[in-house]
Point group: C2
Chain length 451, copies 2
């Protein structure tokens, strides 16, 4: 029997950040964080274990170091039940921990679709955030030449590129007509297809997989047009589902999509129980609809907010909905997205105007390593409020996506962006006279004036 | 005798952007831009002519191409007088142009201090935005081994690094106790000193230059402690002054610092005459004081605003004061600044709290090419409004500085930054759990709560 003030279940990004922020806000309280394994993977770093990094050992989040430094107790164990009335949890080893505040940061698990035949064969992999699984997977992929990656979201794209880099023959299969369809509009995702092709990734879009063929181990994937592609391994990157079983069994309300219901302070429906990260319910910042967007960066924002509100409500510190800011890199090209795509906005019946501008990421463009930089902005027609943006460029595209994130977050209009100041430098950004973000806003402005 | 609707005097960044934006806003009007030379330099690219780029030919702004594409007439000539009553200008070749609206975009010229003895010797250079001068300067510097750069602002730092790169022995001399003193607080500028030293730039701070010695050509610089440094050439990077002589002579009101007085629409005191860029008066966004900050990026923001307001006031499109967002790079390290430094804020009697956090620009930090990333934020104590930020990091530091610029522009508070979402990616940004910008805000938040 142990006692703590705040018990955090889960030791990945969300669990770590809620512990750190909470301890910083309430230094007199005792914080205890429980994780299942000693070594926690940097979640977004997982694809890079398979190419850029030497091994999973290089992708370990320094959780224990940070916990120790900030005075949070870190425990290895598995919670098997929660008594929300008595405010205690039971661990798999029989131990009990009493808490005053509980935070669910149990994350997510890969989707393994029930309808997919042959998903149980050897060399079929999902991508859990589990070092032991990933180490085994890496050593088995080393012996495979042809790999099919199913699902062309960010993780599928990153895995494909990393595996191609290490000499595999990769086919990336996507059921939708375009890759990265939730993140980019077609005119941008088409450019990413081209980049991936140049790097040796074969792409099949509009192709559903019906079956993984082979005796005991993978020999091929069968597409819905009947075609069979010969491969030695299959990676399923078809998304994640919230890991909310423990919450549900413990009477913490879980919504129809499996997410733990939370309010803007990240409180669940049960007193003194919070939820953050992939397991917690999300709403889109603009549409206010529930969305399944799972991002470590969003998880950390939620965790900071929960941490600050644990013992008293800091009324201005609320989570105002997921903006879905994310970026990735393929070689020396970075691409990122924030907010809604044009397609997503139109599907929600938002009347939008868009502007797209292509420039370069250095100036003059004669400088070494200059790359193309294209920015697309999406604004609501009547208000001019910017609700989305997409970038393809050099490696500064990640932070440029964050500039767009700040614009969306502050509900800036096209007008306010047009009078904004930006800083520029030959080696670091595009030219001040042709900064694609501003030029894209000018295009929307023209459309607004000429309607 | 010619007639035009809008006459823009000056063909650098500000002149070009006011022409483009104006023509886009008022497509039926005739726009004419006058520049003195055919080839206009990319202003911020000038230092790179002396190292990274092969020649000034690679640093030409595609002004004429852009003017032609957008239907703006580009004329080479020099305006010698303006009749603001009769609304016409006289050119050096005797020609007259009548206008309806006039925009002064006459830029700035290098400061050549009158008190400096020996400034007229051969191999003493300033840095005008003049291709012919710069070509001559480059060919003469090629024959010099030891170069003194006097004045350690951004341009002095950039020149020093470029000249060191091309095998010169460089000493960078600054009168103030620290380099880049207007842009960075000491704890950050000290790191930049270290980087410059590693790249072979010798730095002398707290050292005023009293005389340039030598017979007809430079042989040394004499410091105010009497010491003489032997050098073959001297570059004066001691700032610029507004080029407002023509305006002053034409009865357009010029303030006591030599800037053409303007309002928030960039209108001068004379009807139908606007001024933008280095020649136009500036106020600091936070302190509201007049400031002499000259940046191509600010010039472009002013130019966009003037362009949109030429024939009718778009009341929301106003310039709200200079934020001074700028960045540079030395090798693979980028550094940038936005808003006020702590020192500048304190000098203005602003009660501030600061937070500084050092992380890395990729995650995990084991990834190749990971660099340290340090962010310092400055916030007003009572309101928590963020008024400044400084960054040193990898090459994404330029766009990260723009994230800070957006934060300042939107008058975001520490609280609103703490609940902000940022996007992250292993190759492109620091970790979401230790994003230095957010961590710096957390440090300020702690200070606000424990006062």
């Amino acid at each position: 029997m142990k006692n703590t003030d705040v018990l955090v279940i889960g030791g990945s990004a969300a669990g770590m950040v809620v512990s750190l922020t909470g301890k910083s806000a309430y230094p007199d309280k005792k914080f205890t964080m429980i994780k299942k394994q000693k070594d926690v993977m940097v979640p977004c770093g997982i694809p890079y274990i398979f190419g850029t990094l030497e091994s999973s050992q290089q992708n370990i989040m320094p959780v224990d170091t940070m916990m120790e430094k900030s005075g949070v107790e870190s425990v290895i164990g598995e919670v098997v039940s929660i008594d929300t009335e008595g405010k205690s949890v039971k661990l798999a080893d029989g131990d009990t921990i009493n808490y005053k505040k509980l935070v669910m940061a149990t994350g997510s698990v890969p989707v393994m679709p029930g309808w997919l035949k042959g998903g149980d064969k050897a060399n079929v992999f999902t991508i859990p955030k589990d070092k032991i699984y990933l180490d085994e997977m890496k050593s088995r992929l080393d012996g495979c030449r042809r790999v099919a990656v199913i699902g062309a979201g960010f993780i599928g794209v990153e895995f494909s590129d990393e595996l191609a880099k290490t000499g595999h023959e990769v086919v990336l299969i996507e059921k939708l007509p375009h890759i990265l369809a939730l993140a980019f509009d077609v005119e941008l995702s088409d450019r990413i297809v081209q980049i991936l092709n140049e790097r040796g990734v074969n792409i099949r879009t509009g192709a559903g997989v019906t079956e993984i063929t082979g005796r005991d181990r993978v020999e091929g994937v069968k597409l819905d047009n009947g075609e069979i592609l010969d491969v030695d391994a299959v990676i399923l990157s078809m998304g994640y589902k919230p890991n909310s079983k423990l919450a549900g069994e413990s009477g913490i309300y879980v919504d129809e999509s499996g997410f733990i219901a939370v309010d803007e302070y990240m409180r669940t429906h049960v007193s003194d129980v919070f939820a953050v990260g992939d397991c917690a319910q999300k709403r889109d910042f603009v549409t206010r609809r529930r969305v399944p967007t799972m991002l470590a960066s969003t998880a950390c924002a939620e965790a900071r907010i929960a941490g600050m509100n644990l013992f008293q409500l800091e009324t201005v510190k609320t989570f105002s909905g997921t903006i879905a800011i994310y970026a990735t890199a393929v070689g020396k090209t970075g691409f990122g997205t924030a907010g809604l795509t044009e397609a997503a906005a139109r599907a929600e019946n938002i009347d939008v105007l868009t502007g797209m501008f292509e420039g370069v990421d250095r100036h003059p463009g004669t400088l070494p390593k200059t790359q193309k930089q294209v920015v697309k902005l999406i604004a609501a027609r009547n208000s001019g409020v910017i609700i989305g943006g997409e970038v393809i460029g050099g490696l500064s595209a990640g932070e440029l996506t964050n500039v767009i994130g700040m614009i969306i977050q502050n509900r800036m209009t096209v007008n306010s962006l047009l009078i904004s100041q930006i800083g520029t430098h030959p080696m670091l950004t595009s030219s001040p006279a042709a900064y694609p973000l501003i030029k894209a806003a000018e295009i929307i402005d023209r459309k607004m004036r000429t309607r």
